[in-house]
């Protein structure tokens, strides 16, 4: 009988052992595998609690000018943005009750001085506790940002300027904007404003690209052999889709028989609608895939994926519309700047980034962002061909208003129809300014022709950069 009882107790003990093994597995899962997730969860107040005890780090432009800093006045810590609205779109805000956005959000743990690697060491982390968080040095240049802001005037829209060779974003402007110094007080008004001042149009606004998509269509057409560099097509005054559907040239122009280069110079709708129809929806889809429009990327700011038409279901008319950047195609200015950068960069498209370095309060470099390739979207040969075409667009075509003496600019204008009013003006391209090879995209909402409205913005920016170079 004794034996029996002992045997039963052993069986119960075994059940206990299984239960505790499960318990320990679950605990290890929480405390090891999910530890980072739980620590950085926005609902976990621990990081914020710690941030209250440390002075938040500075945010600087690429020359060390302070874009945001914290000041302790008595018991209160204030976050000050000396440039007011100028950097609001990329840098964001640090609200008291409304959370945070932009760099303030994505670099929160750096700015609070929390190092997740050190945090893993447990109590040893206490030895490295700091009174001030780390500084974040951005790739943005305050002078370029300012000249882009001023050149846009009162118009809504966005400007992106990036280093074509590295993907470092030099300017990112979105208008209308908000003042991060008073965002808490203005929140209700900003939130309800129909002009969406809180939206970072440069990276998150989606627009039809219009004619600015044509360099990519030209590249796709060459790649798929529906045209070569010498073949001529009769262009004007309209492309007949049948069923009484027509796509016309701007101002009903007639260009006669022209080659691909001239088609791009004149931004001929007839030529590109025709090329798109020849490639068909499948060919177009292939091209959009190759150019990375289907690929997402993780970087230090929030970027919106393009909206791509449902290619297999497109009619012939819609396919032709994609060729001139209309139909269902919607892209962000950032994506267009990336597209332009590929042609000026031998077909390579770099991943855009905003954080150049993270620095300790003493100025030691803790982290430096290494440029990374997003995708090789086309061959160096074709990239050079298109790049030369785009140079011709600026010299002889629609982009003449961007010309700055002594600077080589490759560009493409766009005038995008949209259902909400007057056309959007686009200008995208690359330029060699001094030692810097920049890629850019400008969009001015409801402002008319890209050539006359958007191109001069780039002229101003290049002039500013030249002046800075001379200093």
């Amino acid at each position: 009988m004794h034996n029996n009882m002992n045997k039963n107790m052993f069986r119960i003990m075994r059940v206990f052992i299984v239960l505790f093994v499960l318990l320990i597995i679950n605990l290890s899962y929480i405390q090891v595998i999910k530890s980072d997730w739980f620590t950085n969860n926005p609902l976990n107040p621990r990081i914020a609690n710690r941030a209250n005890n440390t002075l938040r780090g500075d945010i600087m432009d690429c020359n060390g000018k302070k874009i945001a800093y914290s000041k302790k006045s008595g018991e209160k810590i204030e976050r000050i943005y000396p440039y007011n609205e100028l950097f609001a779109a990329p840098v964001g805000y640090l609200g008291k009750n409304i959370g945070s956005a932009g760099i303030e959000q994505s670099q929160n743990s750096n700015l609070c001085g929390i190092n997740m690697t050190l945090h893993k060491l447990g109590p040893i982390e206490q030895l490295f506790m700091v009174e001030k968080g780390n500084s974040v040095k951005l790739t943005l240049n305050a002078d370029i940002q300012k000249s882009a802001w001023d050149a846009m005037g009162n118009r809504r829209g966005a400007v992106v300027v990036m280093d074509a060779a590295t993907g470092a974003v030099l300017a990112m402007v979105s208008k209308p904007s908000f003042n991060p110094n008073t965002v808490d007080e203005d929140w209700k008004k900003l939130y309800a404003d129909k002009a969406s001042p809180l939206l970072n149009r440069a990276a998150q606004g989606l627009y039809p690209p219009g004619s600015s998509i044509k360099p990519m269509i030209a590249d796709a057409a060459l790649a798929q052999n529906v045209i070569n560099t010498t073949e001529k097509i009769y262009c004007g005054p309209y492309y007949d889709l049948g069923n009484n559907q027509k796509i016309g040239e701007a101002d009903k122009a007639v260009y006669g028989s022209i080659n691909l280069e001239q088609g791009l110079i004149h931004s001929s709708n007839v030529m590109f609608a025709g090329l798109a129809v020849k490639m068909g929806s499948e060919g177009l889809q292939q091209a959009f895939k190759r150019f990375g429009f289907y690929d997402n990327f993780q970087t230090d700011f929030a970027a919106q994926m393009p909206h791509i038409p449902n290619f297999p279901k497109l009619s012939k008319g819609e396919t032709a519309q994609v060729g001139i950047g209309q139909a269902d195609l919607l892209v962000s200015p950032l994506r267009m700047a990336m597209l332009a950068s590929a042609f000026g960069n031998n077909g390579k498209c770099m991943k855009p980034y905003l954080v150049a370095q993270v620095l300790s309060p003493q100025g030691q470099v803790i982290h430096t962002t290494m440029p990374a390739e997003f995708k090789e979207v086309t061959t160096p040969d074709r990239a050079n061909i298109i790049d030369n075409y785009m140079k011709a667009v600026v010299l002889q075509g629609t982009g003449r208003k961007a010309i700055v003496k002594g600077v080589t600019i490759a560009g493409k204008t766009g005038t995008a129809e949209n259902p909400f009013g007057a056309d959007h003006a686009w200008f995208i391209g690359t330029a060699q300014v001094g030692t810097k090879h920049i890629a850019f995209a400008v969009i001015l909402e409801n402002s008319g022709y890209g050539g006359s409205e958007a191109a001069p913005v780039i002229k101003d920016i290049i002039n500013t950069m030249l002046k800075e170079d001379q200093k």
């Binding site: 009988m1 004794h2 029996n4 009882m5 002992n6 045997k7 039963n8 107790m9 069986r11 119960i12 003990m13 206990f16 239960l19 505790f20 499960l22 318990l23 320990i24 679950n26 605990l27 290890s28 929480i30 405390q31 090891v32 999910k34 530890s35 980072d36 997730w37 739980f38 620590t39 969860n41 609902l43 976990n44 107040p45 621990r46 609690n49 945090h119 893993k120 060491l121 447990g122 109590p123 040893i124 982390e125 206490q126």
Partner: protein
């Protein structure tokens, strides 16, 4: 070797001194009263160990140091989470030690009650009944009784009586209970009147569950009865019956009671309402996750964010500040106490003692498991105290009495052998 072993077993008593030093270094202030309490606690722990060792021949050498380790963790966590309760918790530990001493001293007399199972059963029914009648609602559980300035959780003590009853009743009737008197499908069941006491305990558990909303204690009582019955009779029919009973009553109460549905919903998806109903469990997971492997360090976490952190959720605070290593050592301590208790039970010659010492150690481990599984979201949360660690007099004193009984039985059997 033996000398070294004895020295090592003294170490848990020093945890409190070390922790108070850290507390002082971090806060730069500590009230004189708390300093005196900490010193007194260290002395109590050391003296307690020596006295019991000298006083009780052949006593188990490991259980008490392990208990003292848990008590030290309890004291330092209470000091850290709610310094105002530090003194009270220390007083409860002192009373616990006194009760342990009394239990050990009068063990012969106390264990004589095992000869009167129905007296023990009646006692537990009276206690549970009085809670049902005069219970007061504190923190959502209607399982408290107020006597003057004291808040008592009688279920902690009823637990001991029920274990005593089960041990003696099952030992006396195990043969009858095992008679395949009735054969129904594949179940072998004794006459109903022998089953009645077990059904009574199950119903009591159900009443606590439904009426007092004390899910934790109900689950504990129910499982206690199942464990003990199986250990005594080896009859798997009881396991099957209790399983059916559990699923059936669980299902019925899920359908009938909103608070049960809410608990299950929180368990299944706490992220549906992380700042509302699931706030406590979500904050507990945050605390554990933030702690990681090594913990944030004593005094360097923010466990006070979790509601009821010094009672039901004290384990999460340990996990935040001492990390996975800390909680594993706590878990290991419970397992070691259980294994030592099992060793005593296995070597017992008297079956009543065998069942009682097994029941006492298994119940303590089960109680720890229920609350640990709750705060780590392995099971739905059921409010119940963590033995020797959670703040609270009833839990602390009842746990000390249980340990006293285990130690006494162990010493007694060793002396006989």
């Amino acid at each position: 070797m033996n000398y070294l072993k004895k020295k090592i077993l003294l170490l848990p008593s020093l945890v409190i001194i070390l922790a108070v030093c850290i507390f002082y270094l971090h806060n730069k202030i500590i009230t004189d009263a708390n300093l005196v309490i900490a010193a007194a606690a260290a002395i109590l722990f050391l003296a307690g160990l020596f006295i019991v060792r000298i006083y009780l021949k052949n006593v188990d050498n490991y259980i008490l140091p392990l208990v003292i380790f848990l008590c030290s963790i309890s004291l330092i966590m209470i000091l850290r989470l709610k310094p105002t309760l530090f003194k009270a918790q220390f007083e409860w530990i002192c009373i616990g030690f006194i009760l342990l001493g009394l239990t050990v001293t009068f063990a012969d007399k106390i264990l004589q009650f095992l000869d009167y199972p129905y007296l023990l059963g009646l006692g537990s029914i009276i206690i549970i009944g009085s809670v049902l009648l005069f219970g007061t609602d504190i923190g959502g559980n209607k399982n408290w009784i107020l006597i003057g300035p004291f808040q008592i959780q009688p279920s902690e003590f009823a637990k001991l009586l029920i274990l005593g009853f089960l041990a003696s009743y099952l030992q006396e009737n195990k043969n009858t209970l095992n008679l395949p008197n009735r054969h129904w499908i594949f179940l072998y069941l004794p006459p109903l009147r022998f089953l009645a006491p077990l059904v009574l305990i199950w119903s009591m558990a159900l009443l606590m569950f439904v009426y007092q909303r004390d899910l934790g204690s109900a689950l504990l009582f129910f499982s206690m009865a199942v464990m003990m019955t199986y250990a005594a009779t080896s009859n798997k029919s009881y396991l099957f019956l209790s399983g059916v009973f559990f699923i059936f009553s669980g299902f019925i109460s899920y359908m009938l009671f909103g608070h049960v549905r809410v608990r299950v919903a929180i368990w299944l998806n706490p992220w549906a309402d992380p700042m509302g109903k699931a706030y406590q469990i979500v904050q507990s997971l945050f605390a554990l996750g933030y702690g990681g492997v090594f913990g944030a360090g004593f005094m360097h976490g923010s466990p006070d964010i979790i509601p009821a952190v010094y009672t039901d959720f004290i384990f999460s605070a340990i996990g935040e500040e001492f990390g996975l290593l800390g909680v594993l050592s706590v878990i290991l301590t419970y397992l070691l106490i259980f294994f030592r208790g099992m060793k005593i039970a296995l070597t017992c010659t008297d079956e009543k003692y065998k069942l009682l010492s097994f029941g006492l150690s298994a119940t303590m481990l089960l109680q720890a498991f229920i609350i640990l599984a709750g705060v780590t979201k392995l099971l739905p949360l059921t409010g119940i105290t963590l033995p020797f660690i959670s703040y609270g007099g009833s839990s602390m004193t009842a746990s000390f009495i249980a340990i006293g009984l285990i130690l006494a039985i162990g010493a007694k059997e060793n002396n006989c052998a």
